[in-house]
Symmetry: C5
Subunit: 339 residues, 5 copies
């Protein structure tokens, strides 16, 4: 592939590309129906948020890229949905690739969505991989003047979006914790069985969370350390809080991984133990009855000259021998603590 | 969740929020029944300790936060009981989130409690997650003038609380060591069995200790390295001692983890070994008696023309053959060192 | 081996050494049929790319080395195909050893090829281990004026070749991902079996990818950090993008390794489980029928005095006893949840 | 526990606290019977070594601490025998906590002893946890003027003690190596068995060695890096040699750990292999004889109308069938390479 | 042991200590039969190489040490054959301890040899642990004027010896690779078995290679970074090449370790699989024939009143029942995919 050529790397979804533009300041907001209505120079006092949902249309992205002078490599990154979270700084703009993990509660599956942010002094463009309007709650905070996001700059808007993404990692981890504690409980009941496939599924989810959160953490740390004048010093305390959250998530996912490994070890031990018990039962039964069977077999032989067969008490004698044999085996197994 | 909104993240416990205020200097102390009686400006020579127990009441925390100018994000952290231990510095105050692990000796369970400290020149506010007055012994040191805590500043009080929290990690580790050495002893006796579930429980406890002690260590190190003028240089040697303790705890928990892994490996080997022994018994018994049974079966057949049946010594001959077969198998197993 | 002696370390392949020279600038290119036609001083405005394919002929490499003043140790590295990727800087030239991994889609095997680059102000010599013209697509970009490579310096050409090599790592990882998800799917169907040998093959491929990508990453980072004036500052953003890709590949290969480990654990658990189930069936059958067999054996004995044999309902009584025995065992196994 | 309160943390041993004082210079030494005879100011040209053995008497330690101005926290550390090796620097003194591991050759057990050093310009106090005079050989070097220790300062004495302690780690590792190579040898003989419990014991010993040597290494490195004027520059080369030893010990313990893991893996494989072989024997015997038994069982039935029973050669025919069945199974197992 | 006392730590071998001295410059060389003939001051233009083979004679080493002012601790290191590779710098000399691993092709064993170098402006003393003249090829390069070593300083001679040692690590790794690929091939054939003991042997060899190469790498890096004027700047490019080799060796040994772990996992899975298959055969045979045996056993009982025995077609009916039972089991196992 030629470097710097924007190509959508996902399956070519039929989903339309939707764009939602608003311009806002601390006093209110206005929806802009057409991208062409935006003129960053006319309204320097306003912030503009251009939210692009569904990024299968490479042409459209190129058009936006041209309008806002997005570097060709950055355009390529927007469309390449297998990006590692990262942050690039340009002269007067910052480019951030983030990965959101959305938990689907019904299927218990994690859905990955790439969200790319490109922002300058008074505009922010967000590119969402899917068309399901994941960032709607942020927009509503601006519209309904909830929280600080409407009254602050685009750096705070970028922070809010990242914070919202990171919050969703907590949801995923909470769900994992619930599944783990349910398993732990099951294991502590006698003879109950946990599904190894479920354990494997959870492991894969944690691997995916860790794969995403480590570079996310780096992005947030670079966001804090940058001396770019786009970042208002007042936003710093929020970014540090966000960094704490990302560390917390990395910690939690490691802890859960350790727990799963311990559960797996426990499961393996229990399985071995159970096998041992099954084999003990088989061995006890076989060890006792196979010799008895043999004794019965001997006196089932049809030799003409078998003196014991004529003995008056032969039968009962043999029954006694059999009882003695089985009792001695029982004592033996009792001594070995198998019974 | 909107950033900077204090919301209690635990289960809404019915527990009341209790507040205990004392003001003290090296000569004595006075209990303050009402938070409103505190005026930090009037008594600059006194230290004030406001100890808040049970933090389910977000409103109340917000009120305290307003009185002492606690940053909204810090307020949110006080109520979020899933915090990672951390330290934030503000202009004239320091905010520390710590995690205490309390060992319940009866159930052998570790209970986590989040303890948040917020302190300035002559006041310290501690927020305890539970209402069980964990920090009472520290207060009594002040009241009964035991040790140095009453005669020193709030930095030493903060140190004392952290030291008290860290001490409780030792209790947890001591208990784990006792359980481990009991297991080790059991394993060295013949045929004794250790409970894999107990091993798993201990593992989970160590995972939780490590999860907490690593960020605690970072907090203590930041506490040492800070150049904030709140920290009296004389407190430094105590803080370094505390840092040594936290390193010691991290070391010990790693050592115990290694020991548990070794115990687990040993257990797995012993289980395999036992299975091998069980199977050897089964195999020896089966290998000897199944062929014998077969021989007996042959002469139990009802064919009219079976010459051996009429032989005078046929029965004894066959008994001899059977003895020979079993003796050869016994020699074979003896050679293989199974017997 | 004497240091600084160029010796080809591969199997002495019969493959001819082919050389392809072009000189180009942004306006067009010219093919040079003979190496001797190149005179770097005559055409300072042109870039020269000498592409050497198949490096079994040590004499030839030495001749080129003499013409372009390649250091003896660098000549040795060109011929030693077991090189670790690395970058050496000389006064006015840069020497880069890279490792390409080419996926053969038919055999599903990874083929390693060492590609060495040696470039100065207006020339670049590439040495390809194999004769299969791996770099042809790059040359065609120059010839057909696709992308920027024709219009820029030799640093961009070196970048393009490295980028092309790194792109091929993605192909290998994509193929691995496909195989892994096919396995994952198989495992989620009942009783289906994954091939451990395939898992082992994939593991070995990932080990090889990681072995190559880590030093490749170092090379790319050194390429970025070098202050050599050969590197045009405009190339920097492309190199950083390439570095991101190498990090992404390292991340992905680690993730796949973790997934494979999880799959392996799952497989082991499933195998143990299946063994347990097999043994349960054997144990149930044996436990029920061996005692029954014994009862039948008793009444198959030929003692003259066995009172039960004459009982009118003896046979049916014994059949009843047998039914009772087997029903109790069935209840016992049902209680143990084996059935 | 109140910080800075010296409390002995071991079991309260009945062992007396013994003190041995000598003052020495390069020309000779003098034993001092009473601690009170020491006056550091009177004899600035002499070095004083106060060696305290058995530290269960907190009062006594406090008295020494008062005489030599030992910081309360350091006093606490002397008595707390669970200390992590560490080094603290005070104005004119250095405080070092070291851990010695003494191998008891009879029980093959490692005994831990904490040795604390506190030294200034012309005095060194050593506190030995046990009363068994571990440091006697060092004292004899001074008395018999062996080596350099008598002629140099207290820094060299401290070095000599640490070197002596580190030497004992080598003894422990040598012993472990002997046990490991004995095991390795055992494993290479056929059918010989290594004790998993011994492997576990060795593992625990290595874990303990590593637990101690890592912080010891840090202590030695801090000792080298300190710019305290107590340390004579001539001692540096000895300290670096000591640091090399501590690195060597850490390396060796890691190597032994790797070897043990490999031995454990080998053992597990051998156990599985042996189980496979046991089961093959059982399966071969059962597979051959159970069907034969069944055939014999059929002709043991007492039906009135069983034509085969009357056949002239029925018995021999059936014997032939049985031979054919067992030969085919033998061929089958031979083909499967079980025989 | 007293620090700085040279004591030979190996087994006291009867091997003589042999010394070989040559003095050389770019024009030629002269053998010196007696150490006493060397006078470094007389021949400043010549380099002297004193090669000592077999180091069991501590006295002799001490004599050389005295003649060339080797520090007592360095003398101790020469004789202590368990040294970790290291480099010490003195005022005008450099002391290097290296570890060579020599592959014995017949026994497939790795033999460790410690080689110590001590060199100054125009002399280099090498101490070889064994008497087998490992460094002969280097001497022959000087004698026959092959390569650059004769024409350059002692730093290049030291480099040549280290390079020669590092080259032998490649031989060891090549041999390991051959053994691994042979195993890999074996595993891909059906039912073939790899020897766990061989895998363990290779693991131990890799552990030993890694144990030696990591500190060797550090030594080489220190050699590069030193600003000692003994090192000619022209030697730098050779040293960097040597450092690349040591990194390559570390990389390769890690890769082989990963491969061995994967082979081990594969082996474990195969063993479990085979056990499963063995048990399935046993279970199928037992499950089918034990019930059939039981049926035969019933009609082998000798009750007087067993109506079926008199039935005309009883025998054939029962044979039919038996056939039906076995067919149903066969269908059952076929459904379970066991057959």
């Amino acid at each position: 592939m030629l470097p710097g050529t924007p190509v959508f790397t996902g399956d070519t979804m039929p989903s339309e590309t939707l764009t939602h533009c608003i311009k806002y300041d601390e006093f209110g907001h206005r929806e802009l129906e057409d991208l062409n209505l935006i003129d960053l120079n006319i309204d320097p006092g306003y912030n503009h948020w251009i939210d692009v949902r569904g990024i299968s249309d490479a042409k459209y992205i190129e058009a936006i890229g041209a309008k806002f002078q997005i570097h060709p490599l950055a355009q390529e990154d927007i469309l390449d949905i297998e990006q590692r979270p990262k942050m690039d700084e340009y002269d007067k703009t910052i480019f951030i690739t983030a990965v959101a993990l959305k938990l689907d509660l019904e299927t218990e599956e994690l859905k990955k969505e790439q969200i790319t942010l490109y922002f300058g002094k008074n505009f922010l463009i967000s590119f969402q991989e899917d068309a399901d309007d994941f960032l709607k709650p942020i927009r509503e905070r601006i519209i309904h003047k909830k929280g600080r996001v409407g009254a602050r700059g685009t750096d705070y808007l970028a922070y809010s979006i990242l914070d919202y993404i990171v919050d969703h990692y907590y949801h995923a981890l909470d769900h994992i914790e619930k599944r783990l504690s349910r398993m732990d409980e099951l294991l502590h009941r006698e003879e109950s069985n946990i599904s190894q496939k479920e354990l494997h599924d959870i492991k894969i989810q944690i691997i995916r969370i860790r794969k995403s959160i480590y570079p996310m953490r780096e992005v947030i740390n670079r966001f804090i350390r940058t001396e770019n004048e786009l970042i208002n010093p007042e936003t710093d305390v929020y970014l540090r809080d966000l960094a704490d959250h990302s560390f917390q998530i990395a910690d939690m996912s490691e802890t859960y991984q350790d727990m799963i490994n311990s559960l797996h070890d426990l499961y393996q031990s229990e399985t071995s133990n159970r096998l041992n018990n099954v084999m003990k039962i088989l061995t006890i039964i076989s060890t006792i009855f196979i010799p008895l069977n043999f004794i019965a077999g001997i006196y089932g032989m049809n030799f003409e000259h078998m003196p014991e067969l004529q003995w008056r008490w032969g039968y009962f004698l043999i029954l006694g021998v059999m009882a003695a044999v089985s009792v001695s085996f029982l004592i033996y197994f009792r001594r070995k603590k198998w019974l």
